[in-house]
């Protein structure tokens, strides 16, 4: 027993000083957390770094610009809380082409106005004639003015038609010039996109979205939603509904996500709730594999530099195995303790709201340590066995690769665990010793209420498997470590198992 402790102490001391310990404890978790957090971060924040300029060409006469701006401001913001979208009315009023046409229109309008004035004058003259029945040659004058009025009316109608026609021309000039202008702005990156509302927008609801980037699905989806609201409101307004009623009808809703728990309801953040346990699984995995990896490499190194023979001559194989498992397991615990302390510090620092990370409890920390111990003993014994059996680095690498894949498998099923931590499939998978620690470490925080039966069951299964694996490891270890040269066949191993 004393030798076991001394070996444990030696292994612990020589490993904790190594660079790989520092790396596994501090650097890898940071890298992993970053890897998980980065896509989430990018997805959430990358398109919203600065305000986007959106042009609007509004031919609909619905005065959409200000409504659109208001609505967009209500929903979308940049990180710095300023509006995400800035609406810019694209109007070609200063363009010469348009101005010329406008001038012409104004002339026609002037003509129409003067003819209208003339018409009105004749009309009033006739009214005067009608009312003053005693005036001289009234009849003749009436006939004369009638003819004049006919002429003027005709001309007025003609001008009206011309004006109408010219207005259409002007509209299309307006649209053409506006689009031309908007395109220039878009190409020169002064606009991020622009919207065109045609004359018939109110009726048809057709909107054109122009941008350089064909993949603005997020924007299109947002505008569609906002505009739908605006046009609906306009349509209702046109039906002469009271604005106060309208406001009431259109009061925006806001969706908050809740997880149902027994003690009551809590708001929850998808990312933190999912990635928290996922990071925990990863850390568990890291801890189990880095410390059992140490076991593995420690055996391999001692085999290759022949210290194993010296050790075996001074201590029994059981002591060596036990010592290594104890020492390196303790190293893993130190690693976990460091992580738990860091987590505690982060929680204290108030980076997250308490509710979001309420699974960071002492109980869960306890289970983390418990399942680490079980996982480590299990995988450690397996690694010791394979370490003593293998003759070269290459074999061992393959073995550890396979074991790693098996052990990280639960992380791949994390979404399933999240949606239903107590589903039959997940429960059954948790009973498999290779997967048990990872699944349980995910299930315990996610399922809210502890499933005591499963915890007891998995612990029992793990303890039993550990005993079996350690017995096997013990039988193989001594014989295998001193074997030289030849690769050990399975039948050979079987013979040792039966013999010893």
């Amino acid at each position: 027993m004393r030798n076991l402790l001394k070996i444990a102490c030696w292994e612990f001391k020589s490993r904790i000083r190594a660079q790989s310990f520092f790396f596994n404890t501090f650097v890898s978790p940071i890298i992993f957390t970053a890897l998980i957090a980065l896509p989430v971060f990018l997805f959430q924040y990358q398109p919203q770094i600065q305000t986007k300029l959106i042009g609007v060409i509004d031919l609909s006469g619905e005065n959409l610009t200000s409504d659109l701006q208001d609505e967009l401001n209500r929903y979308f913001h940049t990180d710095s809380r300023s509006p995400l979208y800035q609406i810019l009315n694209v109007s070609p009023v200063n363009v010469t082409n348009y101005q010329n046409s406008l001038k012409e229109l104004q002339e026609i309008e002037a003509r129409r106005d003067s003819i209208s004035a003339l018409y009105n004058q004749i009309k009033s003259q006739r009214t005067f004639l009608y009312t003053n029945s005693q005036s001289a040659n009234r009849d003749r004058q009436l006939v004369q003015s009638y003819e004049k009025m006919q002429l003027v009316r005709e001309e007025r109608e003609l001008i009206e038609i011309e004006l109408q026609r010219f207005k259409t021309v002007l509209d299309s000039v307006y649209k053409r010039e506006a689009v031309k202008m908007a395109d220039t702005l878009l190409i020169s990156d002064n606009l991020d996109a622009y919207l065109v509302f045609n004359l018939d927008f109110a009726r048809t609801g057709n909107v054109q979205y122009h941008s350089k980037n064909p993949g603005d699905f997020l924007e299109i989806e947002r505008f569609e939603r906002v505009l739908q609201g605006i046009i609906t409101r306009h349509r209702i307004l046109n039906d002469e509904i009271e604005p106060s009623k309208l406001r009431n009808w259109f009061r925006p809703i806001q969706i908050k996500k809740f997880q149902i728990l027994q003690e009551g309801q809590k708001e929850w953040n998808f990312y933190i709730q999912l990635y928290g346990p996922l990071i925990a699984v990863f850390l568990l995995f890291m801890a189990v594999f880095s410390s059992s990896g140490y076991l593995f490499s420690s055996i391999l190194q001692e085999k290759s530099n022949k210290v194993i023979e010296v050790l075996l001559s001074y201590a029994s194989s059981a002591q060596i195995m036990g010592g290594k498992i104890l020492g390196l397991g303790f190293l893993g615990l130190v690693q976990i303790f460091i992580w738990i302390s860091i987590t505690a510090l982060i929680v204290k620092s108030g980076l997250f709201t308490n509710q979001e990370i309420d699974y960071l409890t002492l109980t869960n920390a306890f289970f983390f340590i418990l399942y680490f111990c079980l996982g480590f003993l299990f995988y450690g014994a397996i690694f010791i066995t394979f370490g003593s059996l293998s003759t070269n680095e290459y074999d061992t690498q393959q073995i550890s690769q396979v074991l790693r894949m098996v052990a990280i498998f639960p992380a791949l099923l994390s979404l399933m665990v999240l949606s239903d931590p107590e589903s039959m499939l997940i429960r059954v998978l948790s009973y498999i010793p290779f997967l048990s620690p990872s699944f349980m470490i995910m299930r315990i925080p996610l399922s809210g209420a502890l499933n005591k039966l499963d915890i007891i069951l998995t612990i029992a299964i793990m303890v039993l498997s550990i005993i079996i694996v350690i017995i096997i490891a013990g039988k193989i270890f001594r014989t295998a470590t001193l074997m030289q040269g030849k690769k050990v066949s399975i039948s050979e191993v079987w013979r040792w198992l039966k013999h010893n």
Binding site: I7, S14, N305, E309, V310, S313, Y314, R478, T479, L482
Partner: protein, 304 residues
């Protein structure tokens, strides 16, 4: 202390169906240096590993003072494995202390002993060096210290002289002498016959997994003595050819090696034949060298 005795009885070990040690028996008494000799692959290392309880024999017993090896507890064994192994990244003193404490030394005692031996082997200035920064011979010395740091009752050294310079060979022999003087059991294997000859009191020669020669060094020498004599003079000795009672084995003008043809005739007859014809500077009985015995025996066996 006087009855320190290591008995090997009918030891047999197979590796993958090949017999590596076959029915091997010998006894090692405290206070004698026991040499296990034999050609490569004879099974020396395997035997030593079985004595060290590193591998288990298939058959046979290893008894220390009548107690089975597996049941001997608290007994100190020191072992220098054939393939030297140290932790390359560890510091010299740390590692020695570790090995010392594994053998029930207190931390302090292990430290003191380690420093004492380091000093004795002229390595005191490397106390805090990393093992892999030392030369091969220095590492070898560290390995020695690891083997006898804890003052073991049974010291087993597999090819201890390989890689050591003459000065350190002398230091090592001195240390081994001390062990012998303390009536401890000392088992060494070596391929250097001069070393074995100089060091061992008892020889066990094994070949092809079997013992072919076992006995005290002096007895073996007597047994293989050819009754040969060596004579050396300042002047020419060619007249020795005229003497009938002797047959000349080797000649070299002033130095001759010969045997008496009739073993019953005492050497004094030879001297009477000399009659002062030459001034004798040296005359001695020729001892057979272990080297010759080894080669003769192994070749003889392989011929059969």
């Amino acid at each position: 202390m006087d009855k320190n005795l290591l008995e090997i009885k009918n030891l047999t070990k197979r590796f993958y169906d090949s017999l590596v040690v076959n029915d091997l028996s010998f006894k090692i008494k405290g206070g004698e240096t026991f040499g296990l000799l034999g050609p490569n692959g004879a099974g020396k290392t395997t035997t030593m590993r079985m004595i060290m309880n590193i591998i288990l024999p298939d058959e046979g017993e290893i008894l220390f003072n009548g107690i089975d090896r597996q049941k001997t507890k608290g007994l100190h064994f020191g072992y220098l494995p054939e393939e030297r192994g140290l932790y390359p990244r560890a510091k010299v003193l740390d590692m020695l202390v570790y090995f010392g404490t594994l053998n029930n030394l207190s931390h302090r005692k292990a430290e003191v002993e380690a420093i004492r031996y380091l000093d004795r082997l002229g390595m005191i200035e490397f106390t805090d060096s990393r093992i892999d920064h030392l030369s091969k011979g220095m590492q070898q010395k560290i390995q020695f210290i690891a083997a006898f740091l804890h003052d073991p009752d049974v010291l087993i050294l597999d090819e201890p002289f390989a890689g050591l310079d003459p000065i350190n060979q002398v230091v090592l022999r001195e240390i081994l002498e001390e062990y012998r003087a303390n009536k401890k059991i000392l088992l060494i294997s070596t391929h250097q016959m001069e070393q074995a000859e100089r060091l061992c009191d008892h020889i066990c020669l094994i070949n092809n997994a079997r013992v072919i020669l076992d006995g005290k060094m002096s007895e073996i020498k007597r047994k293989f003595r050819e009754n040969a004599y060596y004579i050396e003079s300042d002047s020419d000795l060619s007249f020795l050819h005229e003497i009938e009672e002797i047959s000349i084995l080797e000649e070299n003008k002033t130095a001759y090696k010969f045997t008496m043809i009739d073993k019953e005739i005492p050497v004094s007859t030879f001297f009477s034949r000399l009659k002062g014809r030459a001034k004798i500077r040296k005359f001695e009985i020729v001892e057979p060298s272990l080297h010759d015995i080894f080669i003769n025996l192994i070749q003889e066996k392989s011929k059969v």
